[in-house]
């Protein structure tokens, strides 16, 4: 049984595409066959993050319009043998396809791959409706900010209405030091509002920007950053492994962080 998961957030810029690219790569490295589908027609990004931009020949829209076969549009990632990308069209916009066409397309992919990850565009309009059309489950990506959480809440409601189950949560770009100083919402605050199961927490990490610019997923690095490790754990949880979600405090590396934690435990 292959799993079709839509990655969505409502708000833009919370890291949907970054998480999709890395989660797809991480799942593929765990010996699952994975296709990541860029559903952001007109504003494609996923190919850039995976470093596959130059290999895109056909796009999802070409497949839908019958201008090429599905296999021709799929871009296989040479660094990660189990991973393929179905790119979005850059030249069309979100009304180029309908939810029914998208559902058919995703249906075809399910016979070829274990995981179909659909990277949803920001917003809740036509593009969102296309992206969720074929999905069976959903992952909400949000950052610990009021506006992102508010939008995520709206999206959870829309997914409920569309009967997409389960919907799980990834809290991205958390900064433990700021949470400790009560300058940022904590993971618990976010969970309390959204009331959906937590799949993972990804810390803020400067390596993310470096890897984006390089077009090389974080999780491929020889010396993986904290964010990459977190996404690796999320991938294993998605496959059903019972790996606990570490306390964001533990992301703070270095002697000082550990010392502070130790002192906190002793004092409180």
């Amino acid at each position: 049984m292959s799993r079709v998961i839509v990655m969505t957030s409502g708000k833009g810029g919370v890291g949907k595409t970054t998480i999709t690219a890395n989660l797809g790569t991480a799942l593929a490295r765990l010996n699952s066959s994975v296709v990541v589908v860029d559903a952001d027609f007109g504003l494609r990004n996923l190919d850039l993050l995976l470093g596959l931009e130059q290999r895109v020949v056909y796009t999802a829209v070409d497949v839908i319009l019958g201008e090429c076969r599905l296999e021709q549009a799929l871009v296989k990632d040479k660094r990660t043998p189990n991973l393929a990308l179905l790119p979005a069209a850059q030249t069309r916009n979100k009304t180029a396809v309908t939810p029914d066409q998208m559902r058919d397309l995703v249906q075809k992919l399910t016979s070829l791959y274990d995981f179909v990850l659909v990277d949803c565009p920001a917003g809740i309009e036509q593009g969102f409706r296309n992206a969720i059309a074929g999905a069976k489950e959903a992952i909400i990506v949000t950052t610990p900010e009021l506006s992102a959480v508010r939008d995520a809440d709206r999206v959870v409601g829309l997914l409920e209405a569309a009967q997409i189950q389960p919907t799980q949560l990834i809290v991205n770009r958390i900064r433990p030091d700021m949470v400790a100083a009560e300058q940022m919402m904590s993971v618990e605050d976010v969970e309390e509002i959204l009331a959906i199961p937590l799949l993972g927490v990804v810390p803020e990490d400067r390596e993310v920007i470096v890897s984006t610019n390089r077009g090389e997923p974080l999780v491929l690095a020889a010396n993986p950053a904290q964010a990459a490790l977190a996404i690796g754990r999320i991938a294993r949880r998605l496959k059903g492994e019972g790996i606990p979600i570490p306390d964001p405090e533990s992301f703070q590396e270095g002697l000082m962080g550990r010392l502070r934690k130790f002192l906190n435990q002793k004092v409180l």
Binding site: D153, L158, A161, A162, I193
Partner: protein, 234 residues
């Protein structure tokens, strides 16, 4: 004057000897919006029927095609409601319903003004009311769950929330100044009772307790639910 929100959620469900009646909102909103509201609203409904219950749809002025009717019937079936009869003002909808084998009653709009609004039963919802969801009801509303920021409840009667109230609530929306708002944790974006509006004072108390908002001398007051109920009931 209060800026009243648009009448998107005027869905109404009630039972009589014939079966269960579902009234679609009279206002013409897009089908996709109606669908979204209906799916969420049905999920939150507490079932007061047993087994498969026959359902009579009051489609008002809605123009429904066979596909939409089929989708509706499918959605209702998931909640153990079996679509049997369709009332409509629209010839188009009547034909669609007849072609699918439902019994049909077509009437002109001025004949079906008889709606069972008087003394509406409270609306009971067991769900989280999320951002972007608006619940409107002509009676009182009781929610088992949270009202999240960005969500709204507008009721002609009282509003009770067995959970956290962090959205917008409007009790006594058609002018009932006796209406109250009760929540286990009252931390709303805005409170409205009848024609009065209030912003709650400093939120985030360390130890929240159930509270009631009520109207006294044109001012919305908040009191501990224990004290308030003792005063009212005795």
């Amino acid at each position: 004057m209060l800026p009243l929100a648009s009448p998107t959620t005027l869905l109404h469900l009630h039972r009589d000897g014939q079966g269960i009646h579902l009234h679609l909102p009279p206002a013409e909103i897009p089908w996709s919006d109606l669908w979204e509201h209906l799916s969420l609203w049905l999920r939150g409904q507490r079932r007061f029927w047993q087994g498969e219950a026959p359902l009579i749809l009051w489609g008002e002025a809605w123009l429904l095609d066979p596909q939409q009717l089929q989708a509706l019937a499918h959605l209702l079936a998931q909640h153990h409601l079996c679509l049997e009869r369709v009332h409509t003002h629209q010839r188009h909808t009547a034909i669609a319903a007849a072609s699918l084998g439902y019994s049909v009653e077509q009437s002109s709009p001025w004949q079906t003004a008889k709606r069972v609004w008087s003394g509406d039963p409270p609306l009971y919802l067991r769900t989280t009311i999320r951002s972007g969801t608006e619940i409107r009801h002509t009676g009182s509303v009781f929610v088992l769950g949270d009202l999240n920021p960005g969500g709204e409840i507008i009721a002609d009667g009282d509003i009770g929330i067995w959970g956290r109230c962090r959205g917008l609530t409007h009790a006594g929306a058609s002018g009932d100044r006796q209406a109250v708002i009760l929540a286990l944790q009252l931390d709303p974006t805005q409170l409205r009772i009848a024609d009065q509006v209030a912003r709650p004072p400093a939120p985030h108390r360390a130890d929240p307790e159930p509270e009631v908002a009520y109207l006294k001398d044109q001012i919305i007051c908040i009191a501990s639910a224990h004290d308030f109920l003792r005063r009212v009931s005795l």
